[in-house]
């Protein structure tokens, strides 16, 4: 294979595999937060901000793979 095509393939695979974990984690966080909001609607506001922060933390894995993909595509 040529180098250019390997690069494109590698970047695509990097994003595809890298985002699996973060997607699962985000779904888990959001699901749990919804569950506890349904149980105790009084603290829903408080939970929501914590949920957003936690989701952003989980997202960082996918962001790292995005950075790697960008490095593969543009820096090499």
């Amino acid at each position: 294979m040529e180098t250019e095509s390997v690069k494109l393939l590698a970047a695509g695979l990097c994003m595809a595999i890298g985002s699996i974990g973060s997607a699962l984690a985000e779904g888990f966080v959001a699901g749990k937060a919804m569950e506890s909001m349904a149980r105790n609607p009084k603290i829903a506001d408080k939970l929501f901000t914590n949920m957003v922060v936690a989701i952003a933390l989980c997202e960082s894995t996918a962001i790292y793979s995005l950075v790697i993909a960008l490095i593969i595509l543009f820096a090499f």
Binding site: T49, V52, V53, A56, L57, S60, I63, L66, V67, L70
Partner: protein
């Protein structure tokens, strides 16, 4: 299919002496000006009977102050750090949503590079901001109590607290973990900066690709992605601010709490 060129570094549009003025710099300065003008405007009409804009701003302000009070432990300390984080939050909100202003993306220089660009989709701004905030936290903690702050990372005091030689492996592990925290501090800077950059950059790229896909997809198809971009712009501005509040408060609180013991 004509996908527009995607560039990670900001394009240089002018040269003033040794400083290359890039389009993200222009946008950052413009958004700062927007904030200053808005501040004057709101300050002039502010009063006991609030105007609509004042209510909106007080909402954001109070929310951040509540979060900071929770993180810093007391409202007095939270108020001390408040202006810094409010500035960061306002700058990021305005900067993230800057390209939503109509026609700003159509302003181009003579050789075709656009004059404005979302400044947070340029890595220098985010890494600069994150490094400044987190290093500031360390400087404040170091100034408060130098020995304790170093002792939080290089945990030599554990060796003096050992009761018998059997504790040595556990102590060595904790000492090593303390050293690893130093690397963790650098990882915090990088992950904080990259999160904001990645989200804003990816949002821009998705819109550019979708609208460049076909002639028919230029008009209505990018709208859902634009809405998603607006949402992630606000969320990421909040997340960046709140995470930096948490990081700084944890570094500064660690020194103060061990002071009380």
């Amino acid at each position: 299919m004509n996908i527009p060129t995607i560039s990670i570094p900001a394009e240089t549009i002018a040269q003033i002496g040794p400083i290359a003025v890039s389009n993200s710099m222009v946008t950052t300065i413009t958004s700062s000006l927007i904030i200053i003008v808005m501040a004057f405007f709101i300050r002039r009409n502010a009063g006991v009977k609030p105007t609509r804009l004042q209510v909106a701003f007080e909402l954001v302000l109070e929310y951040l102050l509540n979060q900071m009070t929770l993180a810093f432990g007391s409202e007095k300390r939270a108020r001390k750090y408040f202006p810094l984080f409010m500035t960061v939050l306002l700058l990021l909100i305005v900067a993230n949503q800057f390209t939503l202003l109509p026609f700003v993306e159509s302003v181009v220089t003579s050789d075709g590079t656009s004059f404005f660009r979302t400044p947070t989709s340029h890595y220098s701004l985010t890494i600069g901001l994150a490094a400044f905030l987190l290093i500031l936290g360390h400087v404040i903690a170091f100034a408060t109590h130098p020995l304790r702050h170093i002792g939080n990372y290089v945990k030599l005091q554990l060796f003096f607290q050992m009761k018998s030689i059997k504790d040595l492996p556990m102590t060595l592990i904790e000492f090593g973990l303390g050293l690893l925290d130093i690397i963790g501090e650098f990882a915090k800077i990088i992950s904080l900066a990259t999160r904001l950059f990645g989200n804003m950059f990816a949002g821009g790229v998705v819109i550019a690709i979708v609208s460049g896909l076909m002639f028919a997809t230029q008009f209505l198809v990018p709208i859902p992605f634009l809405i998603l971009g607006i949402l992630s712009g606000f969320v990421q501005a909040f997340v960046f601010t709140i995470l930096s509040v948490l990081f700084i408060s944890s570094t500064t609180n660690a020194v103060i709490q061990s002071n009380n013991q």
